[in-house]
Symmetry: C2
Subunit: 321 residues, 2 copies
């Protein structure tokens, strides 16, 4: 075995590669074999994170392992799919056993919390790059697309927004986390590094939500994707957008709102749903909040309490270069 | 759209992303949705090719597109799976439209010939790296693993070996292809850049072969994988190993044999099968050749016509650094 085969062997033995429902054959052969329950489809999504672009070069390995998997699994949540397996393509500049153990532990922690199993991968030498492809199962008839929003539906999000974007100065080390009072820094960093894919909510919404996606690019941009695919306008009530308390505390209302609208990386779900379905939904998921409605037209509109449109500058996507 | 979103859009419109049997939902939503026929499993494999390691920095884009997909689909062939969809994670140092069009055309040509559809992907900036994850369908009960070889089975390969390894000096530009007589250079380069995944043979072997894999690391190394997983010894008759005619012509018998045994990159199948099944198999696939047998013991043994063991130095895996 060369050193990269050793690394493969190392991942094969990691906690995230063990067992797994619906895995007929795991790592070690030409292919892995996944069971898709009868009547369901295989949902697939792939994400690549490149050092210096999607995360800072000195990112802690455990947190990076958590985040790389969470970001990919979040796409399964947005579809309403149940996770089954994932592959990991990792490119490493050198072999650092401590780094790999921490990365693998973070990956395993997130895999366990999402109920997903590592089924294959590839390790190569080069600048640090992490590619994750996730697979799950969902009924093709019920799967939530971006294209189903109907005029008259309400627009909801699954929880408070803006914490991940507010965390960026901390992630970059531009702000000292110890300078902050209480647990604000901790909350912000947790939002950034350990987003929790909204799997239970996604599965609950099957057959109920008319359209859904996960908020990765920022609420305005992602609602724009639904609006475009569904040929409707999404109208957001500015005062209804739930702001993460740590972002509010650190930045104040105006900047926290900007983070929530344009910051991205929250990995909450945004979805449209018939009005009558919202109350029973909120009994199960009290963090779900109605933030607007689907109207005829195109694009995304933010309005104040008087229904007047408000202009927002789009914040650009934050690169770590 | 930023420039990378433009590239995503470019791939979305490429020939390899159109249509596709068993694709309920293609590129453009949070996930793609693949239909796995009832009673079958989803077979998954992932491969990463890094510039300067797995291919030379100046590799022609069309050929690279062909090869990146072929190498991954070959793992489906080795399992006996029928291809359905693939994702592409591509990291690019810069945007070069000519390069992208050629790469996409090569990818599309191979996708068409394999019957597989691009269902998702991710484009990022960085050193050229190509990650392909392929998905197909196969009966979990029949899928050919590495672990099923039985003492008494015969060992076969799907065709002549050694051409891809013999092509490496040409690929690296160390030898001028125009200095070669007739079409030798052409044949060698085709073997290297456009390996044909043995899909039809793999599917025919379902329920017949006791073990199979694709020859990527070299015949000796790959037979070693079967021997280890099956707890048997694979005995190879040196004189039965079919040598690619272009490798023979260029290198002579001894060096061509070395290429065939240790060179890798051929992407033919090696498999074990009961003796009585070979003749009907060869009527359908005349290139299939018996090269040895499964005996009790461990590892791989190369023997001469008198059954005496021959020692071979393993050639190392060729890096393009």
């Amino acid at each position: 075995m060369n050193e990269f085969e050793l690394i493969q062997y190392f991942f094969t033995r990691s906690a995230c590669a063990q067992g797994g429902e619906n895995i007929s054959l795991g790592i070690g052969d030409d292919c892995a074999l996944l069971q898709i329950p009868a009547g369901q489809s295989c949902a697939v999504s792939t994400d690549t994170l490149v050092s210096g672009i999607h995360f800072p070069d000195n990112a802690p390995a455990f947190l990076l392992g958590q985040r790389a998997l969470a970001v990919a699994v979040s796409d399964l949540a947005a579809m309403g799919a149940t996770p089954i397996g994932f592959t990991l393509a990792i490119t490493l500049p050198q072999i650092d056993v401590d780094w790999l153990q921490a990365f693998s532990a973070g990956l395993s922690a997130m895999a366990l919390s999402c109920g997903i199993t590592l089924v294959g991968g590839d390790t190569t030498r080069g600048p640090l790059t992490i590619g994750v492809t996730v697979m799950g199962a969902v009924s093709a008839r019920q799967a939530m697309l971006r294209s189903g929003a109907q005029v008259g539906d309400l627009l909801c999000v699954s929880g408070p927004l803006g914490a991940a974007a507010a965390a960026v100065p901390l992630v970059l080390g531009q702000v000292d986390e110890h300078s902050m009072a209480d647990d604000t820094a901790e909350q912000l960093l947790a939002a950034y590094w350990s987003p929790q894919p909204q799997l239970k909510l996604g599965q609950y919404l099957l057959g109920q939500a008319s359209a859904a996606l996960d908020i990765s690019d920022g609420l305005l941009a992602d609602c724009g994707h639904i609006a475009k695919a569904s040929h409707v306008c999404l109208q957001i009530q500015q005062t209804q957008v739930p702001l993460a308390s740590a972002a509010l505390k650190l930045l104040g209302a105006e900047a926290a709102l900007h983070c929530a609208l344009s910051g991205g990386d929250d990995y909450h779900l945004a979805f449209t749903i018939a009005a009558h379905a919202v109350e029973p939904l909120q009994q199960h998921f009290p963090e779900v909040q109605v933030i607007g409605q689907v109207v005829s037209g195109a694009g995304v509109q933010v309005v104040n309490d008087q229904g007047q449109a408000i202009a927002f500058e789009r914040l650009g996507y934050q690169h770590f270069e």
